[in-house]
Symmetry: C2
Amino acid sequence: MAQKPSIPKGTRDFSPAEVAKRNYIIETIRHQFEVFGFQPIETPSFENLETLMGKYGDEGDRLIFKILNSGDYLNKVEPEVYAQKDSAGLTPQISEKALRYDLTVPFARYVVMHQHEIDLPFKRYQIQPVWRADRPQKGRFREFYQCDADVVGPGSLLQEVELLQLYDSVFSDLGLNGVCIKLNHRKILSGIAEVIGAGDKLIPFTVALDKLDKIGQEGVMREMSAAGIGQAAIEKAMPLFSMAKDKQNSLDVLSEFLKDSIVGKQGIEDLKFIAETIRTLELNSTSLEIDVSLARGLNYYTGAIFEVSAPEGVNMGSIGGGGRYDDLTGIFGLKDLSGVGISFGLDRIYLVLEELGLFPETVEESVQVLFVNFGEKEALAALPLIRKMRGEGIKTDLYPADAKLQKQFKYANNRNIPYVVLLGKDELEQKVIVVKDMANGSQNTYAWKDLQQFISTL
Amino acid sequence: MAQKPSIPKGTRDFSPAEVAKRNYIIETIRHQFEVFGFQPIETPSFENLETLMGKYGDEGDRLIFKILNSGDYLNKVEPEVYAQKDSAGLTPQISEKALRYDLTVPFARYVVMHQHEIDLPFKRYQIQPVWRADRPQKGRFREFYQCDADVVGPGSLLQEVELLQLYDSVFSDLGLNGVCIKLNHRKILSGIAEVIGAGDKLIPFTVALDKLDKIGQEGVMREMSAAGIGQAAIEKAMPLFSMAKDKQNSLDVLSEFLKDSIVGKQGIEDLKFIAETIRTLELNSTSLEIDVSLARGLNYYTGAIFEVSAPEGVNMGSIGGGGRYDDLTGIFGLKDLSGVGISFGLDRIYLVLEELGLFPETVEESVQVLFVNFGEKEALAALPLIRKMRGEGIKTDLYPADAKLQKQFKYANNRNIPYVVLLGKDELEQKVIVVKDMANGSQNTYAWKDLQQFISTL
């Protein structure tokens, strides 16, 4: 009995047109990664279970896809454990491997394992799929690509500057104007919490502030209050709310606000340097904006924080993000190695380009020239011409069967093939080809020996 | 306590140099796939377990990596099944998904699921990793890439011709001369078994014949005898053994040998057409050879069979293979769809190119120009120049920290960077850069405003 096939929920097949568009984005990102001096690495799709477990919090541990051991895997399970019939208890006894959950932990593992082959600072990029057993929903998949660039080793604020330029170069190459990079600093958030007297409430404070766009000033104040932040502290924080509206002078307002916080002033100085240097160098397609409500993985980042928003009018969450972190590799025994990195959200960038019609027209053009198949004799005569065109790198095809002309033209249309070549009985006798331009219907005749003339028009 | 990290056996980390070389091969293959009119698809890394099980024989079923269900997966296990503590019985109750084992079954599933979006004949290529729980050994990994091109739909021998040209184009682009494509035909093997009176012993007959290179004529005869093939039949097959040595006239010898077998003569005619057409079109770097001992997945292929050997003197198994098959999609309910396809063995091609020193020197050159970092002031002056060079697509980097000159030069050497730019205190004053050619040690000075002059030398 034949199976009616399906694919696992949260996964996707990609059609030729989709692969072409995804590769267009990936190759654009890869090109700029390399132009900026980043080097690619690749890590295995699955890691040892203990490499991944405990690195992403309890929810992460649950969302990691575990791989069942091969062979008679129950043989090694302790009878007491088996008797309990407890999933969480049994898992480590029947599964030793798990699918990659992100690119950061495997990168940390890579750096530690290969520390003697790597020259620090190490600028690496990695473009590979990751897997999460998340509930699938619109725009959230169980298999998706991450595109990360990080520098680890001796730090310098010039690395932050360079990563912002890298964002700008990629979005410029993609023709995506109006992207906004929001910038904040972990030390500014600490400074604020310190100044208002809520230093012990840093996390609930920033979590609440982060919602300013969604729930407004009143909502944020209510949430802070509910989190146990005192009324006096909340009132002290008031200038931040209005600052979030007037983003032009953010750094001046903040400098004044944080003038008594040492840590806060360090954050301000970093952002000033970054913003000043970027202003001198100029960005092409993107703009930079200080956003004091940006929190982003607070227990991970330790310095500057970035988040990239799609152009105004496009309803999409962030399309990228990153920041500076300390101690990437400490979990694997290599201390004091800090870094800074950014990530591109491939799936969301795809949706934005699609919505704005920014994919180049030629991206889906898989074949440039199709030779109609008039039967074996004509097809055999076409082969040397096709060979020559392919030899010049022109994507050329012979319709692979001797089908009705109408069917072959329909195929050419469906595949957006710009030129169709006719080599039938008459053309065979005269040793010519007739080239039909599918866009305007015009026809040109070329002698076989003048094929190069046709090639040069492409 | 920090973990000492490791990776699962049979998997690999790829360093920047390795990724660069692998991508060089993959992009060469991809380019020719597209020039020949093949379109890319991608399928999910994991499929539903029932999509894969039963498609690769019993051994295949064992070697498929299964993914443990998420959450409280034991909750759904029937108590009677659990009580038996039998791995094989428990697996389907705790695992619904499995990692891709090859690209052919997912392709068949894709064609059936998307049959109404696809124009037949459908020329697809797919370059993705697959996973097998095989015992790891030299050159055999648990995660490796497959690079497949197939045409499904109405068949034509011109497709075989085209696939042979495709092999030739890829190996030519890789600079790998002397590759031999061995050619056989399932119908020729059937004809031989018929003619010698061993039609019911086709599989053991070809399995034994396949070993001619390794165990010699005597060994093959012994093995055939052990498989129950009669002495008379074996003696009738004698001409094949000598034919295997004299490969020039294989088709003539075979024609004579198979003159009374209808099926055998069909096979001969197909190979004659393919060989003749290829002779007219000419191959660049590869040669074609009829090899009657080539068996290759006999219960799968139904027409022409290909296998690609590395150039003589390189000790390596086949670096590619393929053939024509019927009924690719029947298992998923779409009958009578035949096809023909080839595959490239990425890992082995890598080893061959490495052994013969055929990777281009520039393949590992990740950065073309490195600016030495003399401190913040000089680095800031370098940034606009670096920005301009990157804007022209030149892979340019600033050493990311203000380290000792010797260390920065060592880094440039280790990374094979051909040009190092000096912009220190003096150069800053004079608004110039000094470019050092790392190959010959020569130095050139350019004014900042003449940066384009330097760029044009690259």
